[in-house]
């Protein structure tokens, strides 16, 4: 608790753990704010994009990542899907008293490495320590800013009937990995989180399919939630094909035994996008050539069916509605 009260102990914590990990010119001035030259920003485009997210995942570490990697990738992705080039992040942490400094150091290093690989700098931040029990080990908030280049206008309301719907790979891995990492299910599975920064994949997609209408990362609530949101915003119907939705074989088994629907499981490295039909093949090829898009697939299309309604053609040949999920999915009983 001595750390939260300002003063030398706090300064030491920040220096020791965070500044040394994040290590960049903007941060090392240790002013209360990071400062940017507007003219530098304007080199990248004509609009500023800003987003924020808080990360409270437990457990802190899981197969494929940790809360730090998640906090960096998630915010980068929220910028990227708007067509923004992600540039800078802030990092505010709330630490429960008693959390081992080594854990904190490990997570800070993970954030730093993830940011470095993504070409993004963490330039300002805050640390607070709270009483035991006042938060669950560690909460992280990251706010990101990026710049959108001129002429690029992606939006959930821009999709038209006939547009192809694509995803960049195997769905549901993150949700399954987290569920399993919580230890309640006692299942042995190699499924890992797909946590990844997607801005370079998005650049590839936009270069190949400049008419792309809409991109969104399929995080909490899974792909089904994104599709419902865009169907509603654009007032189109969406038809997807179950036999074209890419799923890891182990994921199919995991979901079958538990009675979970993979369409609703969270992803942290997957986007859904809508592109004009005549650009669909180019988009698919470009994504498949990117390391984060090898299993990309065209899963369906927007239709002039009932607006706001997402329908799935099942492997079996019937049709069912894919609605918004109410609350969390729970495993089957019998």
């Amino acid at each position: 608790m001595a750390h939260g009260g300002g003063g030398k102990a706090m300064r030491d914590l920040i220096d020791d753990v965070f500044v040394s990990a994040f290590d960049n010119d903007l941060l090392s001035t240790m002013e209360d704010q990071a400062r940017f030259n507007l003219s530098d920003l304007a080199l990248h485009g004509d609009r500023l994009a800003m987003t924020t997210d808080s990360y409270v995942v437990h457990p802190l570490r899981f197969p494929g990542g940790d809360i730090g990697k998640l906090a960096v990738c998630g915010t980068i992705n929220d910028l990227a899907v708007g067509g923004a080039k992600p540039l800078y992040l802030s990092c505010a942490v709330i630490i429960e008293e008693g959390l081992e400094v080594d854990t904190l150091r490990e997570i800070a290093r993970s954030m730093a490495q993830t940011a470095r690989l993504a070409g993004v700098s963490i330039v300002t931040g805050d640390t607070k320590v709270v009483d035991r029990g006042a938060c669950d080990k560690l909460f992280i908030n990251t706010t990101g800013i990026g710049v959108i280049r001129e002429g690029l206008n992606l939006g959930a309301d821009r999709v038209r009937p006939g547009d192809a719907i694509l995803v960049n790979g195997l769905l549901g891995d993150h949700g399954a990995a987290i569920l399993n990492a919580r230890g309640e299910l006692m299942l042995s599975t190699p499924i890992e989180s797909d946590c990844a920064a997607l801005h370079k994949l998005v650049d590839t997609l936009l270069a190949a399919a400049p008419g792309t209408r809409f991109i969104r990362d399929a995080t909490r609530g899974g792909i089904a939630t994104v599709l419902n949101e865009v169907a509603e915003a654009s007032q189109v119907g969406i038809l997807i094909h179950e036999d074209r939705t890419p799923l890891r074989q182990e994921m199919r088994g995991f979901c079958e035994i538990l009675g979970l629907d993979p369409l609703y499981l969270a992803n942290e490295g997957k986007i859904a996008c809508a592109v004009p039909q005549n650009e669909a093949d180019a988009a698919l090829t470009a994504m498949r050539n990117h390391p984060l898009g090898r299993d990309s697939a065209i899963i369906g299309q927007a239709t002039d069916g009932r607006p706001g309604r997402v329908v799935m053609q099942t492997v079996f040949g019937g049709r069912r509605i894919v609605d918004m999920i109410m609350g969390e999915q729970l495993p089957r009983i019998c």
């Binding site: 006692m186 074989q249 009932r306 079996f316 069912r320 509605i321 109410m326 729970l330 009983i333």
Partner: protein
Amino acid sequence: MQYVDEFRDPEKAKSLLQEITELSARLRKGKRRPLQIMEVCGGHTHAIFRYGIETMLPDDIELVHGPGCPVCVLPMGRVDDCVQLAEIPGVIFTTFGDAMRVPGSKKSLLQAKSEGADVRMVYSPLDALRIAQQNLDKEVVFFALGFETTMPSTAMTVLRAEAEGVINFSLFCNHITIIPTVKAILDSPELEIDGFLGPGHVSMVIGNEPYEFIAHKYGKPIVVAGFEPLDVLHALWMVLKQLDEGRSEVENQYARAVPGMGNCAALEAIGKVFELREFFEWRGLGSIDHSGVRMRKPYEAYDAEKKFAIRSVKIADPKSCQCGEVLKGVIKPWECKVFGTACTPETALGALMVSSEGACAAYYLFGDVEKIHSRRAEAEGAKAMAVAEAGL
């Protein structure tokens, strides 16, 4: 995936559907209503909707959704009892997932959890026993529910608790048995069921013999069915073949999982730990004789109803609820006055809307709600017109 993909083959489905269409057309000739086949088990209801099977069947067949969902038939009073147990200081209340959302008269277990009660989801009763062993200063109660499908694992857990000398563990027993349920359906004057799809996983435990009375005393075909979409279609086809050939027999479509004689070890464990209650209260169906089980005397130490002073108040369903009629298949979920309006998965009045096997939840999640509302408006319009014409 083995045992999954083969049973979802759309090509095989096509040929089955063709035969089903021909058979049902022939059987329906001259009858004023379509053939009514009831799937007893909520798992089948879910499968039917999940794969869009209803959208593939001809109009000559109507699927009637039965009461085989153990969460759906929980009376509100029992949910209140769970909440009461969960709110006792020092108690860890463990339960299967779905049951957490069922509304009690004041709140659900999920709401009790958000207010500070220690309610934990488990996948198996053995997990609950483990929690008891890891928390010796607490009392762990397991909410034991389900038909015969889940009874063996509960029974085995009690036997293990006894063998390992665990004393801070008990169960709140709400296990129910399927046969009295089906008999209540058969005796119901409001229903005219032509044939049944039998519950596949219950049958894994009890075998096929208990259903003989359905075929011989009531003269109805019953086919025990698996849960993949081809299983459901295949079993439907088998029911129609029986009707076409004038037979009424118990057949086993799910032979790859259901042994004809049931599972001896499971039945032995059940028989050791449980005995039938004289009667048990079912939501919407009232009291049914010999339909519930309780712990036998030697295992009373593991009976939460003996360990704790449970209020056990009988709570009437809300007036607007038509859960009972839906459970019996007398009305379709969308024919309930409050379906999709006052009663939705987020604001559920009854368990059928929150259980993953509930007919209402299946219709709401997978079915076409707007179409349902317009069908209902049409039906009401037609009724109003008929009344007006009768008055003229």
